[in-house]
């Protein structure tokens, strides 16, 4: 090893573990991890069927006979992945292969989504430290899945073979929509919400989140669209896709805001206090108002 042994022995182990236990295709996961991978995919497809909150399904089965040849060609292939985390937990992930969508996108349509800049994040956290604010960091689970696809932008996704079987186990209603084409089981799904992988998902998610904040009385910063401010004696929220930071001098105001957002996004994973991790950066606000 080429750096201090004490540091490396611990951290090199983490790096090695990260390299060995990494993401793989679901088919490979079925072979290497076995039943746990099937259970993880079942859970993931169940989330798509049920949605992030009751009454918000992400996909809906479609009868292949009602689809034109062009619609079938434009349907996105589902990408199913398995990840074995460092703690040993097996996680399934289903997303759409949105690369096909770019071909059918008009040149004037922009799907770029804004995100908070590092400078703005550091500036706001510096203000929090200086004004001795209470800081809360929270994560919105299944963030994208809350955003609804516009009706005129209906997207289709295609599931194949064993994933069709798992989907039918999740919800037997899907069985009547399954077709066998050239010996392959195929199920077409209409994507109702911004699923991971679609190129406009990030923008839809941003639009939803920012519109909710505006409804709640926040004003978006004109220089950084992911920084919003509301004057309850001065409150700032900063967000990066599904990670958000909110701060206020009065902890009760922060709690109220988090509770308000819970009404829209369900349960939020919140952490409070002076030592936090946001976007992979660990920071500590010290008593002498410095950021460490």
């Amino acid at each position: 090893m080429n750096v201090d042994d004490e540091v490396v022995s611990k951290d090199a182990m983490r790096l090695a573990t990260g390299a060995v236990f990494t993401q793989m295709s679901a088919k490979k996961g079925f072979k290497t991890v076995g039943e746990a991978a099937v259970a993880a995919m079942f859970k993931e497809l169940k989330q798509l069927d049920e949605g992030p909150m009751p009454g918000k399904p992400v996909v809906q089965p479609v009868d292949v006979d009602t689809l034109s040849q062009k619609m079938q060609e434009q349907a996105m292939e589902a990408v199913n992945l398995i990840k074995v985390k460092r703690c040993g937990k097996v996680k399934g992930r289903t997303c759409a292969n949105g690369s096909k969508q770019r071909k059918y996108l008009s040149p004037e349509v922009s799907v770029a989504s804004p995100t908070v800049s590092l400078e703005d994040f550091l500036t706001t956290i510096l203000i929090d430290a200086q004004e001795d604010r209470d800081v809360a960091i929270f994560d919105v689970p299944g963030d994208y899945l809350h955003a609804k696809f516009p009706d005129d932008k209906a997207a289709l996704m295609r599931l194949r073979d064993e994933f069709v079987d798992i989907m039918c186990d999740v919800n037997p209603e899907y069985e009547k929509y399954v077709k066998v084409i050239k010996g392959t089981k195929i199920l077409y799904l209409r994507v109702l919400r911004a699923i991971y992988g679609c190129i406009e998902s990030a923008l839809l998610c941003y639009n939803l989140f920012s519109s909710i904040l505006v409804q709640m009385g926040f004003t978006l910063n004109p220089y950084d669209k992911c920084v919003a401010n509301r004057m309850v004696n001065g409150k700032v929220i900063v967000w990066y896709v599904d990670d958000c930071k909110v701060s206020h001098v009065d902890p009760r105001v922060v709690t109220n805001l988090v509770n308000e957002l819970k009404k829209h996004f369900g349960d939020l994973k919140t952490s409070r206090g002076n030592t936090q991790t946001f976007l992979g950066i660990s920071f500590k606000i010290t008593k002498d108002k410095k950021l460490n």
């Binding site: 080429n2 201090d4 540091v7 490396v8 090199a12 590092l118 550091l122 500036t123 510096l126 950066i281």
Partner: protein
């Protein structure tokens, strides 16, 4: 960010035995055109390590910005000289691996900005511009780049 720094040192491939007091020599920006080019494998490693340092530098090591910014302009034509410059940078990082970035403010009403330019320090008479911003205690934003 210690993990990422160790990751960059390991990705470099060569053993980093020493530590240095400075991250670069005064002739950092000088480019000798007659130096041997790196082979494909080493060139890819060079590119990868510089990209890793670019990510880390923006978050926790702003004082490395001029060096990383310069090395970043050489990823498509890296030479043995650049490899040695990168090695020296990693030696410096090894010696300061547990350093933490601290930022603070003396007040939020005074935002201090410094900008400086050095003319003709790069090949083809190109200049280098740097700047940083502070609320009075260390810098919270720094930028260093070669002018086109």
């Amino acid at each position: 960010m210690v993990n990422q720094l160790i990751g960059a040192i390991i990705a470099f491939g060569e053993v980093i035995k020493n530590t240095t007091a400075t991250a670069s020599k005064p002739y950092l920006f000088s480019v000798r055109e007659d130096t041997e080019r790196l082979d494909k494998e080493k060139s890819e490693i060079f590119h990868s390590v510089v990209a890793k340092l670019l990510y880390i530098m923006k978050r926790t090591r702003p004082y490395l910005e001029p060096i990383v910014a310069f090395l970043n302009t050489r990823v498509s034509c890296s030479t043995v000289d650049h490899w040695n410059k990168l090695k020296r940078l990693l030696e410096f990082i090894k010696g300061t691996i547990n350093d933490k970035r601290i930022i603070g403010a003396n007040g939020l009403n005074d935002l201090l900005t410094w900008v400086d330019a050095a003319d003709a320090v790069h090949p083809n008479m190109r200049s280098h511009t740097s700047g940083c911003m502070s609320f009075g205690l260390r810098t919270f934003h720094a930028r260093s780049s070669k002018k086109n």
